[in-house]
Amino acid sequence: MKTYEDLATDGGSNIIGQVVTQREKLRGRLDQIKHKIALLSGKGGVGKSSLTANVAACLALQGHKVGILDADLNGPSIAKLLGVPNEEKLKVEADGVHPGEGALGIRIMSMDMLLPTADAPVMWTEGKEATAVWVSTMECTALRELLADTIWGELDYLLIDMPPGSDRMDNIRDLVPELAGVVEITIPSNMSQHIVTKSITKNSNLGVPIIGLVENMATYVCPHCNEEGDLFQGEDTKALAEKKGIKFLGSIPFDTRISGNTRSGKMFFAEHQESPTGKAISGVVDKILEFIESNSK
């Protein structure tokens, strides 16, 4: 009787061929992007998406071509942050879907852009029958399609705005093995730092390059006099970075105008570059670029 190896194909579905085609499509897309950077935190609510959007703005104002993939599938915010309205029609071609063009020409792709209304949730089947495994399965495939089927074109930087937690990192690592590195983000609270250390340890163990640690919402900046004051009581984030053996990229003060700009779709960084927060974002971007440059040599 013939054995498994004796049978040349799988009988007609050509599953392996289909997977290879998917990989080639993804590779073709990613090869046009010079540097891919993930911004993440083990903890939610630390301002990952706002920081990602403003880092993108800083890079765009330096003349780089920038894109953002919103990998937070269930809590997408990048489209709103960069002023791409939910009702904007998708431009679909045979080769892929055009990214949304956000503030400063930043190209974005987000689940939000695929949903018909602003309050539509990401649900993979109608009704209650979706199991946890099914949803997780769909999310892995969705992330691949968002990356591979978006006509990103040539980009200098693709920033990947990660969801809270570090579980999605396994998925990204598989899809983008050439990831330049991850930027870990925390706020100066004990709870955030406690959780972010797990994310740092996980990425170290996975061999994912860690660009460094950012302390977001480090202080509060008065919008009237630019004076700073403490927001949280936590450990020294710089010391935490040293303890984990990674670079400290900087402290970014909280500025209430960030959320105001979010609502208007304008970029905070573009309008307040000289504010303490704007300067701090610039400083973080400089250190990210130093890392990229030193690792490119």
Binding site: K2, A8, S13, Q18, V97, P116, C140, T141
Partner: protein, 145 residues
């Protein structure tokens, strides 16, 4: 997974139509021995189905469904933008009513290509030019598993 017809010692081939499966809990796939004509069906359980669907591939081979950009996302989202529904049935040889289009769009991604082929072949054999939900009920009655 491969299937062998034991009496003939021949690989069984995937039948690319003849199935109309509207459930995402199980994959139904027919295999036929080209030597003796014996046909069998492979039915997967929910966990096997979820594993296969993770790959984003189509049973029975690639069709225009898997070629459509964001085909899996567009067709699997309970609420997705209309522009994403690129994998709508072709209208060159038969006409699909909107109800029929909506229904075929609900067939799971990984078997939709085969289901479309099944419906089109069923209509073609009977000289039917318009595919509506009544016809799809008939297809399901005759070949659905």
């Amino acid at each position: 997974m491969k299937f062998l017809c034991v009496p003939c010692d021949e690989q069984m081939e995937t039948q690319k139509d003849g199935l109309f499966n509207e459930s995402n809990r199980s994959i139904s796939l027919k295999f036929k021995c080209k030597k003796c004509g014996h046909t069998m069906a492979m039915l997967t359980n929910r966990f096997e189905t979820e594993f296969v669907s993770k790959l984003g591939v189509e049973m029975g081979g690639k069709s225009e469904v898997s070629n459509a950009p964001m085909g899996m996302v567009g067709s699997s989202l309970a609420q997705g933008k209309e522009e994403l529904k690129q994998a709508e049935p072709a209208t060159d040889e038969v006409e699909w009513t909107q109800g029929a289009k909506d229904r075929i769009a609900k067939v799971p991604f990984f078997v939709r290509g085969m289901a479309k082929k099944t419906v089109i072949n069923f209509a073609r054999e009977r000289g039917i030019k318009v595919i509506d939900e009544t016809l799809m009920d008939e297809v399901r009655e005759k070949v659905g598993m």
